[in-house]
Symmetry: C2
Subunit: 287 residues, 2 copies
Amino acid sequence: MRPEYTGRIERALEVLLPPATLAPERLHQAMRHATLDGGKRLRAQLVFATGRIFAVDAATLDAAAAAVELIHAYSLVHDDLPAMDDDSLRRGKPTVHVAFDEATAILAGDALQTLAFEALAGAGWPDAVKVECLGLLLSASGSKGMCGGQQLDMDAGGRQLRLSELQRLHAMKTGALIKASVLLAAAVAGAAENESSALAAFADDLGLAFQIQDDILDIESSSEQLGKSTGKDAAQGKSTYPALLGMDASKALLAELAARMRAHLAGFDGNADDLRALAEFAVLRKS
Amino acid sequence: MRPEYTGRIERALEVLLPPATLAPERLHQAMRHATLDGGKRLRAQLVFATGRIFAVDAATLDAAAAAVELIHAYSLVHDDLPAMDDDSLRRGKPTVHVAFDEATAILAGDALQTLAFEALAGAGWPDAVKVECLGLLLSASGSKGMCGGQQLDMDAGGRQLRLSELQRLHAMKTGALIKASVLLAAAVAGAAENESSALAAFADDLGLAFQIQDDILDIESSSEQLGKSTGKDAAQGKSTYPALLGMDASKALLAELAARMRAHLAGFDGNADDLRALAEFAVLRKS
């Protein structure tokens, strides 16, 4: 995790988000509340780290980094709603429907989704690159990607899923956007096809590793450490890797994924070290 | 209103929407419930009618027509939610959160928004046209357009608005998407700048006329005629043109808008007759 990227993405989001003083003020305040000053910015870090492999200037990637963070922020706002996960704490702050109200939270999520694609459509790239990036992020976000994964999560309710079902759920719900983060940077960089597929395989493993660690932290960490409610998976009877495989086997799978991620990046030189660091972070992080 | 366009947009939407048998089935069923077999398709009609001015083949406009109808459908699903307008009837059918559930309705709206932009990104147009069309529809949909207009509507609550506030609310909430429908077709057609601005002015008046007639019908029509709940504006203390101006002045303003719309189209020949018919429909419709 590079701290300079954290500042960079914050500034890029600040520029894209309409000011809180612009009407409708309440909506713009809620959009900013949901997006600014929070989170690990994993997806933006992935964009910048992937760009570095190809020596793409970070400024060229701001729009892509902002777009994936905006999609992520929108999904959190909607997932936190009472009709979904009913969460009141997020990134150490009250969730949007708690700080504002439900209608504003629904609309803020809606408008953040729109803004994500506006970021790409307004980027300083050739039209062909914009269209390719829009296609990547759109398909990662929609009913066959992130949004569909959240539906699978809702549909599962308290039912224990089979491992294959859980994998599909997470591949869609969180994996698709993580993969898009890497592929957007590759598209902007004009990466070769074999490079993009190695990066896609890396991102698939990273998404899975991140989810397994998320499940583990929900059990082993405190809400103060995480800045969000913990212990909710078990309370809601949600399927998790520790519940399905046991804690030891989950940690063993994490270690295996770490090895696989290293292998996927073996063909890249030292410029891929930022990406390697993110892989390590996914596995070792404590929050 | 051309009946052949109604069949055409229905088929275009049918092709774009994922099949109801594809996982997550519940989400795809809800997306189809919200979108297919319903409504006047005013926005799609506007796309095709505008395209006809420039002799653009209707097939070339399917993606644009589908995109505006998908954005419209998504906005209705979210606006109908209990936290917003709390409507149970829409186009003569139960609303999505009634027929399915709230979580599914939120996600179906989300995924319909994404699908709208996917339709444009996947159209058979040159990349420059795609980017232009995406820019138009994105800015019409977001916090400075439709979504922001719905926020203004929510923020108003039962408070009586001034005329200027009500105009801005509707220009954003419904006007922006109506204008985008016309401008998308103009963009695909490669219309000249003076043609696009005449069409934009026409669309501004059309959106306003449509809203005033909507307000009138909510008072003078029955829910059977409209296929949606009526009398809700007054019950919820919403600001409307009849409430602000009186019924007679509202109808006089409608007549004035009809004359203005004819003037905006004066520079176009008989190929604009479809658009003229839509203007007449906006003013005279009974449902």
